[in-house]
């Protein structure tokens, strides 16, 4: 009887490892940008022609930087949450319109609502590369000193907003 216990034990350990592995998200790659200064850039704004935006403009406040595109299906999924969140007015949400067409982007915001104080236009995706964007939507929490404190890859869910983003924002806003 004892000789069957060892293989059984090994099997159970394997099953536990596999079960844990299945619950992990392979897209959730830890970002090396955490606790680093948000890469600088200057990009034109989507709505206000002629005006530009750079992260330095946000110095002194905690803000969310949300990468979105009209062609991005998951963005539509998180969008109502962002719109509702922006209405609360807790902190500014800046958009990065990633590799999009201007008309499509404007139409998308008109149709689904615009949660952003402004959207910077990253037409060729060069700024996205500096921020390590690989799966739109992505959201960054940036603190008063302009440091990236958190990167969330994929659509924000009510759960991730309540459990991860808001507590961190509260901490940073002190």
């Amino acid at each position: 009887m004892k000789r069957f216990l060892i293989p059984l034990g090994v099997f159970v350990v394997l099953v536990v490892f596999l079960a844990v592995g299945l619950t992990l998200n392979p897209r959730d790659v830890p970002s090396p940008l955490k606790d680093k200064p948000a890469p600088a850039f200057t990009l034109p704004q989507l709505a206000a022609a002629g005006k530009s935006f750079s992260p330095a403009d946000m110095k002194g406040q905690v803000w969310l930087f949300n990468v979105w595109a009209s062609w991005c299906v998951s963005c539509r999924q998180e969008h109502p949450l962002l719109v509702a969140f922006a209405k609360e007015g807790k902190l500014p949400v800046v958009g990065l319109n990633y590799k999009d067409q201007e008309a499509d982007a404007k139409g998308w915001l008109a149709q689904f609502g615009d949660p952003y104080v402004l959207s910077a236009v990253d037409a060729d995706g060069r700024v996205g590369i500096d921020y390590g964007v690989y799966g739109v939507p992505e959201t960054y929490v940036i603190d008063k000193a302009g440091m990236i404190r958190m990167k969330h890859t994929g659509p924000i869910t009510p759960e991730s907003l309540q459990k991860q983003i808001l507590p961190l924002v509260a901490e940073l806003s002190k």
């Binding site: 790659v29 090396p32 590799k99 995706g125 500096d130 390590g132």
Partner: protein, 154 residues
């Protein structure tokens, strides 16, 4: 099939090939292209994680290859280009991540498993050798066995 219809098929097939999407513009310099491919084969495409950056058709991979070409043009070394990628996407982009405390288990794990397997094999073989070797009979047991054999023979 008649010759004429064969000819029609040929024309159709070739014209279809001609209409297919044109190949992406190659970098003017073949050397640059070679280096770009060599570097991008070391890198993981984060959009389709089981493809290398050089083999992926994802848009991000195309953009990153463009960046690599640009950096080669600027005279950056291979290491500088790899560092550029790691600074943005983390060690995960490299198929051969650097050896450091967080990757010790990754690099050493297979050898640990191998050592464990060899230890288990040795233990198993030793135990089996012990079980197979018949125990020596003592003088007393030998006498009893002989007596039993005598009894059954008579």
């Amino acid at each position: 099939m008649k010759l004429s219809s064969l000819l029609v098929w040929c024309v159709l097939i070739f014209s279809a090939a001609a209409m297919a999407k044109e190949a992406a513009p190659m970098a003017a310099d073949l050397e640059v292209e070679k280096r770009m491919v060599a570097i991008s084969e070391e890198l993981r495409c984060l959009v389709c994680q089981n493809e290398s950056l050089s083999g992926s058709h994802a848009e991000l991979a195309q953009d990153l290859r463009r960046e690599i070409r640009k950096m080669i043009g600027e005279g950056k070394t291979d290491k500088e280009i790899l560092d550029f990628m790691v600074a943005r996407y983390g060690d995960f982009v490299r198929y051969r991540p650097p050896v450091k405390p967080t990757t010790w288990l990754l690099w050493g794990g297979p050898f640990l498993l191998l050592a464990g397997g060899i230890a288990a094999l040795i233990a198993f073989l030793r135990r089996r050798a012990r079980e197979v070797a018949a125990p020596e009979l003592s003088e007393e047991e030998r006498r009893r066995a002989a007596a039993l054999l005598d009894q059954s023979n008579s």
